[in-house]
Symmetry: C2
């Protein structure tokens, strides 16, 4: 397996001003893998309950996602329920039922331990550390996290941050972790712990990449209409890591392109509920929007 993601597989119930969905396929590992499959072979490490609909597993398999690492445990699948107001950038959690995810002990199948690329989705940093120990000689490891772990398990989180190559983090969480308003300072602090690459995600406002002698700022791809922003960050991560896995390099131009691929795939994700758009996405659609992204963001030097 070239690329492995560890994270949640969930059933989401959500409401936006544009509709609602009940028990829809969701979870960070789901969005990540459905985005990454466009770039490289990807396997999921996660857990579902015995209630998890078989068609969801079939859907992943049909899209080329390896589910060897997806465990099924007695009990109910992780369920998240949320609501978005017109300000689509903030999810209001209505209910979280961890269910079998509460006892999640990530176990990497033998084939996954050889993975060159590893993404640690937003789970308990203690589990993230445990996964890091199971993988043999990764070329690039990355993690995501959230406010809950920053305030609740700060030391463990700092430990795992110091052991990965890249951190993908939301704007507010970067500020919270580094205790500063300045994203530049926050990224510097995180990079000082070890990671060579820090990506600060700003949702509808794009993202910023910080790496060695590299600093790249990009807006989000502007959408005419957004139906459901759930999974935008995870599918960003999936395309970003998938692109790097396919490229086999992390030089600056490659990192920049990976960021744009992440933005492009995340923008598609928001166009339909749940994983609807991700399941039909293909390389042609990605390339088309990538070219458009370049067209709308570049400017020429002056010659006058």
């Amino acid at each position: 397996m070239k690329l492995v993601v560890v994270g949640s597989v969930a059933l989401d119930t959500l409401e936006t001003p544009f509709g609602r969905a009940a028990d829809a396929l969701g979870g960070s590992a789901t969005y990540f893998s459905l985005a990454a499959r466009n770039y490289a072979p990807v396997g999921i490490v996660g857990v579902v309950g015995t209630d998890f609909p078989r068609p969801n597993v079939d859907l992943l398999v049909e899209r080329g996602v390896d589910v060897t690492g997806l465990a099924s445990e007695e009990g109910q699948t992780f369920r998240w329920s949320g609501r978005y107001d017109f300000d689509l950038s903030t999810a209001h959690t209505l209910d979280t039922q961890l269910n079998v995810f509460a006892g999640f002990k990530p176990h990497l199948p033998e084939a996954y331990r050889q993975a060159e690329y590893l993404f640690l989705g937003n789970i308990d940093p203690t589990l993230q550390l445990d996964v890091l120990k199971q993988i043999r000689r990764p070329k690039l490891t990355a993690l995501d996290t959230m406010n809950f772990w920053i305030s609740g398990k700060r030391d463990e989180l700092t430990e795992v941050i110091s052991r990965v190559d890249a951190v993908l983090i939301n704007e507010a969480e970067a500020r919270q972790y580094a205790n500063t308003y300045s994203l530049l300072k926050a990224a510097r602090d995180i990079r000082a712990l070890g990671p060579k690459v820090v990506v600060v995600k700003k949702g509808e406002y794009g993202c910023v990449l910080f790496a060695e002698d590299c600093y790249f700022v990009t807006p989000a791809y502007p959408l005419e209409s957004i139906k459901d922003p759930t999974g935008a960050g995870d599918s960003f991560a999936g395309a970003f890591m998938g692109y790097l896995a396919r490229a086999g390099r992390t030089d600056e131009p490659t990192l920049r392109r990976a960021i744009v691929h992440g933005s492009v795939v995340a923008s598609y994700t928001c166009e339909e509920f749940s994983v609807g758009r991700l399941t039909t996405l293909d390389a042609a659609a990605i390339d088309r929007r990538y070219a458009e992204f370049r067209r709308i963001t570049h400017f020429e030097d002056e010659r006058e």
Copy 2:
């Protein structure tokens, strides 16, 4: 006069987490002209009271701003008092004293009526219309506005919008005016009224340019530390219009460069209180940051 701005000249008292300033030189026309002077001869139409400190006028004149159109009336100068929290993107108004600005009747000196470029700062749309009538054969007219006029003088605002070539407007105000969350739809609605160019300003998140077959999205220039965001939007407008006035064209590449110049000058504005940085700014500093802006936002096409 190549370029004329009509707007407020004020004394600002403000507080940010990084300091405070009392009776500091401010106002939309002030910021606009101090930004625009780097590009083209610019004149101010505004009004101050007899209390307006002479050194403020001297400062404008020394920086090459024409003040023939700056009237002095018996009474106090317009005063604005505000506070910024750590979220520096929102100004909380503490007090507004219109003073002589309440009776402002913009009068363009003869030399200004020949201006090719006109910017109508955020004032009563009825006054904006009146100014439009005083100018002879402008090549490009633009306006800014705010929520107060959108809700209070919507018809008059629509009338003046329909008569200008460009609209520069904040994200929230574009949404309010067009009654839609979608900025694409808001810009389309505004352009349908007549303006060929719509610039939606998103503060620290950059801006979007909408024009004929042209769509350009750009982040704000990222700052290590921001001292005072007052005047960022007005100095953006000043550099944008000044650049267009100097170029003498509004083709797409020129519009894009004008946007980036606006962003660059606005970023400098935020680095010091009041007009501090604008008064020392020069072409070399602008060019340096413009080149840096390109470096941090561009990505190459894939060749692999």
